[in-house]
Amino acid sequence: MNLSPFRMTLLGLSLLIPAALCAVVLFLLIYSGQAIGFNGLHFVTDINWNLGDLYDDPVTVKGIQIPSGANYGILVFIVGTLLSSFIAIIIAVPLSVGAAIFLAEAVPPRIRPVLSMLVELVAVVPSVVFGLWGIAVLIPFIGHYIAPTGNGYGLLAASIVLALMITPIIATTLLDALMQVPKENRESAFALGATHFEVVSKAMMPMVRTTLVGGIVLALGRALGETMAVLMVSGGGINILPTSLFSPISTIASFIVAQLDSAESDPTNMAVRSLAEIALVLFIITLAVNAGAKILSSGALHVRKRQH
């Protein structure tokens, strides 16, 4: 292995990223240790989340001090996180791909920088602003035209907001990649008699597949971790599993924000430890999702190789 100082510096810088991740995970593990032991497996299967009586004397259960009546179950939030991110991706990917294709091929080169900057501007909108817009515009819209009960808060609103937030991540990276596709690929496809759209969809898109998957993984990461906007439009579901697109949900990230302040008034500290445990569960989910994406994308590459 080439051990030049240049490569070593780069490697050192790169290793800082996993180091930061490990520091955070280690912190969460140490901090939530007691909670993990106390909560056991029913943490992820229990629907009921109860901080207990924070103003009364703590009781001792299983040798650990907890507020009386406390019970920590997060199934609701796991389901909320997975559903909202999944639906957000389903909405965002076609939108991003379509937008990127249109920008790369159908828009006159002079307008392209302006429009692509508009797409990037969507990424600039702060999360809280998406939440405000959601409450002011999106939720009444869903309530009036889409929801059967007239209530716009819930899973659909959260998913749409998430989708809008993550679309620029996929779209801009994809756009850049499409612009970099060598001219020869386009021209040879045209020469074969393909329509313009077919040139893009059949000749150019396959070449940017890794970039697309990379963008989707980044976007999914952001969707899983998004807090503020979801907090404002999700309807704050607690103790109830979502049954439809219009049920209130809570995602793990938004729930942590919502509960953190109350958890700090827990004299036994069990509440914050359980919140740290929830964060750990989210890490595991993100790990699983990323691993899944990796397997899928390497599987796709294998298929392509065999066809050639």
Partner: protein, 353 residues
């Protein structure tokens, strides 16, 4: 090479400019005070800041809103000088931090608002047990016999109730659930009270963020009921929501206004202990409004240095004297402290060293 160099240079330049602006902004040795905590008390602190700063240029007061729990926790850790809280420091927290003082600054209250088409201008009557049943899912329809019995002659609609609650930790939830606990044994046994409670699962219920969120959710959903802090009374009126009359401990139905909230405050004046940790929820008295509370400043009586302690004392004294005048309080519909309480607060303030 050129690009990254240019970017690097402009980035460093920008940071240098920012630093210069920053240091130019502060050419004085002012004492900085940071307050954080209750979002209920936050608007009042903000109203106080301009006039207090003008009267005391040597003290720079920063106000933040993070929630009562964070307010107490950060005051205890010394991260902030003043923690604002809708709840006094609980016994168990007091045991862990015996130097924390709970100093009332003003009196706030909470309204139960609802959105019933056609009935928003008639103050329908509700009670603690009825509200508890609604938020537990035991009463689901507006024309339930229990609600009808309380409102003879009112044409209550045959429609599902949509209960709205706070999803974030909140002093409003705290005093609302205290009211439910004090008036309904079933609630007190299972759900108790707190800045966040384990709301039972009810189809159609909504969790909203902040009082603004409660207001938006109630306004957007007919047949909803929500608990909203009284500082929002103007917005509530503007959005055309109804204000409910609540049944107090004496069995009378009252609206939240200066008389009824004042009556609640006065009823606990003689019972208030020197550490001022007392609740006036569900207070005695024919005219007492059942959801009223002291807004507390939680301060560590042991401060790192005398200047900070002095600055805190100056501010708190100002708050309970000049700050307690109606020109400030009326903007948030709070009430001033009774004189006897002001004396108790002043005694506690003197303890800050």
């Amino acid at each position: 090479m050129k690009i990254s160099a240019k970017l690097r240079r402009s980035g460093v330049a920008a940071l240098a400019v920012a630093a210069v602006i920053g240091t130019a902004g502060i050419a004085h040795a002012a004492t900085t005070l940071v307050e954080t905590g209750s979002s209920l008390l936050y608007p009042l602190f903000n109203i106080w800041v301009p006039d207090f700063s003008a009267a005391n240029p040597g003290i720079q007061l920063t106000t933040t809103s993070t929630g009562s729990g964070a307010g107490i926790a950060q005051a205890a850790k010394g991260l902030v000088q003043i923690g604002a809280s809708d709840a006094y420091v609980s016994d168990s927290l007091e045991k862990k931090n015996p130097t924390l003082l709970s100093i009332p600054l003003a009196i706030s209250s909470q309204a139960i608002n609802y959105n019933l088409p056609g009935l928003n201008d008639k103050n329908i009557k509700l009670s603690g047990p009825v509200l508890a049943a609604i938020y537990m899912g035991k009463i689901t329809m507006w024309n339930d016999p229990k609600i009808k019995a309380m409102n003879p002659g009112v044409d209550l609609p045959d429609h599902v109730i949509i209960p709205v609650h706070r999803l974030d930790g909140s002093g409003d939830t705290f005093i609302f659930t205290q009211y439910l606990s004090a008036s309904t044994p079933a609630w007190a046994k299972t759900l108790k009270y707190g800045t966040a409670v384990s709301w039972p699962a009810i189809t159609g219920e909504i969790g909203a963020k902040g009082n603004t969120g409660m207001l938006s959710a109630a306004a957007a959903n007919p047949y909803s009921v929500a608990y909203i802090g009284v500082s929002y009374a103007n917005q509530v009126a503007k959005d055309g929501l109804g204000v409910a009359m609540l049944k107090n401990k004496a069995g009378k139905f009252v609206l939240p206004d200066a008389d009824t909230v004042g009556a609640a405050a006065n009823s606990v004046v003689t019972d208030t202990p020197p550490d001022e940790r007392i609740s006036m929820i569900f207070a005695d008295g024919d005219n007492a409004y059942p959801i009223a509370n002291y807004e507390y400043a939680v301060v560590n009586s042991q401060q790192p240095d005398a200047t900070t302690a002095g600055a805190i004392r100056t501010f708190l004294s100002w708050a309970i004297t000049s700050g307690n005048s109606m020109q400030y309080l009326s903007k948030v519909h709070f009430l001033p402290l009774p004189d006897a309480i002001k004396i108790l607060s002043q005694t506690q303030i003197a303890k800050i060293q």
